[in-house]
Symmetry: C2
Subunit: 380 residues, 2 copies
């Protein structure tokens, strides 16, 4: 059953349950600053808008400035959320509202307010004798399991992503080597838009040969040459993100300085990714999942060359909980959406990364992509 409308009331109830049971500081009141959390709870999404949401006993007060006021009025449809146009210092207006509602204790979303903003707010809170506590990770629980409405959007977003990757694969050798990394990145985004995305979910990593050994390299204006081409990209669709990485091969492979090694790495990464995917199911611990890929890569002698985490959650943010790394202890649950993206990087030679997105299902998992992982060549 696909729920077509977002149930904001239910989300506010779930938030309330989290905060009244939060072990460090129980309160029915919370100040939220993260744009994605505000969107999740109200329907208003002002990226980097500096908006704040006060929730008190399941009623919300959304503080926005002039620039976002019309947008907020258009997008908030829950009558329990009141929109307040800021025309003064934001912290002071928040404190005024706390006083008006006789609020004497409040949780602060500490991961999404800067230290300097917090210091200013603290002065006012202390002056008014309002007790405060901090909430951080527990609030990520709010969005960690996706509902059917969200899963449908994410599926569509991944479908767009896969289609656009296939559009790029239609390029012949001459076409692809006539482009710079930057131009290819831009054309890839063009395909995403053509295929109904709103744009890209992050700055793409389009990395040719030695550039590909830097896991978060972006794209430069150098022309694509024979060798390795790592493409890490994603779509942005109805405010949700996708993420995918494929590493393909361009031109006469014998021209490459050490192609045997790159192929060896490719197969190890592919197998590591497969091993991790096959472990995806409810109840699995994130660090154990990470280890499924990491131990295989280490056993093959490349442990030092896989220096990042195995994956992360994807949703309204392209990187969000659960984080899948060697130290994290998230327990996988039905409805979580994560990436699996092992990689091996050799400085001066290049890197290989293969990344899929999977949904944790009742019995196991489902890959959002329908793409094979055999090596792909675009040859002359």
């Amino acid at each position: 059953m696909v729920i077509e409308k977002v149930n904001y009331e239910q989300r506010l109830r779930r938030l309330n349950k989290i905060i009244v049971n939060f072990e460090n500081f129980k309160s029915e009141n919370i100040l939220i600053f993260k744009d994605e959390n505000i969107y999740y709870l109200t329907g208003f999404y002002g990226k980097n808008s500096g908006s704040s949401l006060l929730i008190t006993n399941r009623r919300g007060y959304l503080f926005v400035n002039f620039i976002y006021y019309e947008e907020a009025k258009n997008s908030v449809c829950n009558q329990n959320i009141e929109i307040i146009l800021l025309d003064n210092d934001k912290n002071e207006e928040i404190i005024d509202m706390l006083n008006q509602k006789a609020i004497k204790d409040i949780l602060i979303e500490a991961s999404s307010i800067s230290c300097s903003n917090f210091l200013k707010l603290r002065v006012l809170l202390e002056k008014e004798k309002i007790k405060f506590g901090f909430i951080d990770y527990p609030l990520s629980e709010l969005r960690i399991v996706k509902d059917e409405y969200e899963l449908k959007i994410i599926r569509d977003c991944c479908r767009i992503t896969e289609k656009s990757f296939k559009d790029i694969l239609k390029y012949n050798y001459k076409e692809i080597t006539s482009k710079s990394e930057l131009e290819l990145a831009h054309e890839l985004e063009g395909y995403l838009i053509k295929n109904d995305a709103y744009g890209k979910s992050f700055d793409f990593i389009i990395a040719n040969n030695e550039n590909s050994s830097k896991p978060h390299y972006c794209a430069s204006n150098t022309k694509i040459r024979n060798g390795v081409l790592l493409m890490d990209f994603g779509a942005y669709y109805k405010n949700y993100c996708s993420d995918i990485t494929r590493t393909i091969f361009i031109g006469d492979i014998l021209e490459h300085i050490n192609f045997k090694k790159v192929f060896e790495i490719y197969e190890i990464v592919k197998e590591a990714q497969f091993l991790a995917e096959s472990q995806c199911r409810p109840g699995m611990i994130s660090s154990e999942l990470d280890n499924a890929a990491r131990s295989f890569i280490a056993k093959n002698g490349y442990g030092e060359s896989f220096g990042h985490s195995l994956g992360h959650g994807v949703g309204l943010e392209v990187h969000e909980p659960p984080f899948i790394n060697s130290k994290s202890n998230f327990v996988l649950r039905e409805g979580m959406v994560i990436t699996l993206e092992p990689g091996i990087y050799i400085e001066g030679l290049g890197g290989v990364r293969i990344e899929d997105m999977v949904e944790i299902t009742k019995d196991g998992h489902k890959n959002f992509y329908n793409l094979k992982k055999e090596k792909i060549f675009i040859v002359n």
Copy 2:
């Protein structure tokens, strides 16, 4: 005289001067988290990399994780900056280094660390009896005046921006109305890349008719129709940003619901922008500059419809100090780069904004763009 190389030593000396004279807490030691400040001082730019830079008596320790390590090694050329690969908790590694260097007092760049990260760091600092203070606005002084090397890049970046805008203006009526806002935004970025930019400096605002009354609207997949087309965009070039807005007119203007009003607004905004620009000179106070445009708009009856600030500094960030608004008190100085962007927005009808970037010179100012501000029409 154009300095072709960055003098990192000089920048570190300037930083040192700021922090040892900082009134709230004097120290020779500082922890910096903002990626742009780290780049400015070291040459390493890891956007959202979570890197930290410890400066102690003009020597630097750059903490980066695996993902950015190769990039950091390649980009830091100052021998006084040591690169440290993180393989443990970042805060703990920073504290270890502070202990190793027997540092007992430190400034923290409070605007660029989250409250929750600061809370973790504070526990460790207090445990080691290391005194700490906060620095925020004074550090923005570091980059507020651009040197000749930076100005040259910004000029090139604006030249690319202007050229790309002219490329868009070559579209005829049929071409432009066959595109959605999103497609036009994407093509505009394509021109920037063709003209040597590395990409865009922010998500473009391409807003047609009623969409243009939301100052920070993005772009949607609706086709461009007759009426107002507001385009706020910018290039990203050699790590520097540009910013520009033009509002143009598409098709038969008589079709528009209330075109006389839009034209009236256009002329008021144009004059307000001119009035502000003519006040740009060293010694001018930012709030007075803002008032030059704002009072004119108010006098013409649209004071309530210009709800954002007049402008902002541009450099490594597209929005950075000095901020030009009714409350700020920056004093303009030679070498500052600011935008001037008054606007009037009427809900349901549309908005007009005209934005230039100017450099404050010894005697006055210089506009980075060579574009007229008369109304531009793309008609059938």
